[in-house]
């Protein structure tokens, strides 16, 4: 597996979003998190994930930092009362475990004093109707990133989160009468996300850790 210039690692699913982010930030091919199911029980599942983490950590050592992003595709809006159990596991359950695995790997890879940035798909608060799985995943993983910041803080590793609606925006989701979004909404990854990530990777962001920044042109305020 390759890491571009070797000083920045991306952990992401290949696709338009991660490709755009990777091109803007300078990683050639991201590390992909395998969808490791439970083939023969919980112990086998744990062993498979642990083995994968060890394998990757033995091959990759970024000097500048790690970006975890764009792990999911097919973020289709669906009201909660219409989601069947299989679809829910595809939209939340399995991604939730994959994201945690990705965060654990990011901590494994990040050198002392480095920076981890998590980029999450998240509809803005005003546009969240019908996006229960995506919002639940984003809120959960943003909190997980904050927990990771506490875990890695003692060795100087900062962990911050940038959320973006660029991949999930559904213009029909907002209630009639909601204020119109600002020009440029929902934004694009290369323009509105990469710059924020770049900043958070630098010493200029030394005071930020455990923070979440919504790159949604002001459409979320909490």
């Amino acid at each position: 597996m390759t890491t571009g210039r070797g000083d920045l690692v991306g952990i992401a699913r290949r696709g338009p979003v991660s490709d755009a982010l990777g091109a803007a930030l300078g990683w050639a091919a991201p590390v992909s998190v395998p969808d490791l199911a439970a083939p023969a029980g919980d112990a086998a599942w744990h062993d498979a994930v642990a083995d994968w983490r060890r394998q990757v950590a033995g091959q990759v050592r970024p000097a500048r930092g790690v970006v975890v992003a764009a792990l999911e595709a097919d973020l289709v809006p669906e009201p909660i009362d219409e989601v069947d159990p299989q679809r829910w596991q595809q939209s939340f359950g399995r991604p939730f475990v994959r994201w945690f695995t990705a965060l654990q790997l990011a901590a494994d890879l990040c050198a002392d004093g480095g920076s981890i940035v998590v980029v999450l798909d998240r509809p803005s608060s005003l546009d969240a109707a019908g996006c229960g799985a995506t919002v639940a995943l984003a809120e959960g993983i943003a909190t997980a990133a904050r927990s990771l910041a506490q875990a890695t803080g003692p060795r100087g590793v900062r962990v911050n989160t940038v959320t973006t609606p660029a991949h999930t925006h559904d213009p029909t989701a907002a209630l009639a009468g909601s204020p119109p979004p600002l020009a440029g909404y929902p934004g694009d990854v290369a323009t509105h996300v990469a710059g924020a990530v770049r900043l958070l990777l630098t010493p200029d962001a030394a005071a930020f850790t455990g923070a979440t920044f919504h790159a949604d042109l002001g459409r979320s305020w909490a």
Binding site: D108, G140, T143, A151
Partner: protein
């Protein structure tokens, strides 16, 4: 406040029991949904003693058919449903584990009870809550805002529940159903267990509470849930009330 029928998941003890008893004090019909039968039936009996009508149903919130069957049984018995409270959490909730050591199975278990359980409860209850203009309350935690060094899975699923509840509030508002969260800080068997495992946690938690004590599940937490389920909260939806003695300075 007229008699209502409400369900409380994970109400065989702790905060869930406190919520059930607070609802009983208003004379409500309270259904205790839990896996532990002996404890659940004891709480149902306590609901009777507190002025309500208490009944127990075996229910695994992580299993969609189990939840659907429970809600069907409630509505078959009482004819209606006014409120639902999702209090159940994984039995691992108070077990401290470093984040980097969490296993996929542990993560999946937390998600199954807290998040999948909320989805199952929401799906089963919606048509009945829509008929009565009812409400759903989900229990989140200050951990959802702060993150937790050794309870990261618990913190993450509590944040996920909060996000899901806010989304449901926007989806269901037009249908007349309100959805809110509370973030309680109360003494409970799980809290006592956590303090015994980590005595320094007790000092940290109590030392940061402006009112100087843990909340009581029945006297401090339950009435807030009762309020959110009732008519006085008719204009409150999509909110998270911090019921924690000021511990987490969010706003």
């Amino acid at each position: 406040m007229s008699t209502r029928t409400v369900v409380v998941t994970g109400a065989s003890g702790g905060v869930g029991e406190g919520i059930a008893l607070a609802c009983a004090e208003a004379g409500w019909r309270v259904w205790v949904l839990a896996r532990r039968e002996a404890e659940g039936r004891a709480v149902a009996a306590a609901v009777d003693a507190a002025g309500g009508t208490g009944r127990y149903l075996a229910c695994d919130v992580g299993d969609r058919p189990s939840v659907a069957q429970a809600i069907d049984a409630v509505v078959a018995a009482d004819g209606e449903l006014h409120g639902a409270v999702h209090n159940a959490t994984s039995g691992r909730s108070s077990l401290p584990i470093p984040m980097l050591d969490l296993t996929p199975a542990e993560l999946a278990d937390h998600a199954r009870v807290s998040v999948d359980g909320l989805v199952h409860l929401a799906q089963a209850c919606l048509p009945h809550l829509e008929a009565t203009g009812g409400a759903l309350v989900a229990l989140t935690s200050e951990a959802a805002f702060e993150g937790k060094l050794r309870l990261s899975a618990y913190a993450a699923v509590k944040a996920a529940e909060r996000g899901l509840a806010r989304t449901l509030a926007r989806e269901w508002g037009p249908q007349g159903v309100r959805v809110n969260c509370i973030a309680p800080l109360a003494s409970s068997p799980a809290m006592v267990d956590a303090f015994e495992r980590d005595p320094t946690m007790a000092a940290r938690v109590l030392g940061r509470i402006p009112v100087g004590r843990l909340g009581d599940a029945r006297a401090d937490i339950g009435p807030v849930v009762r309020f959110l389920l009732g008519d006085d909260a008719r204009y409150v939806t999509g909110q998270t009330l911090m019921v924690d003695g000021g511990s987490c300075a969010i706003a």
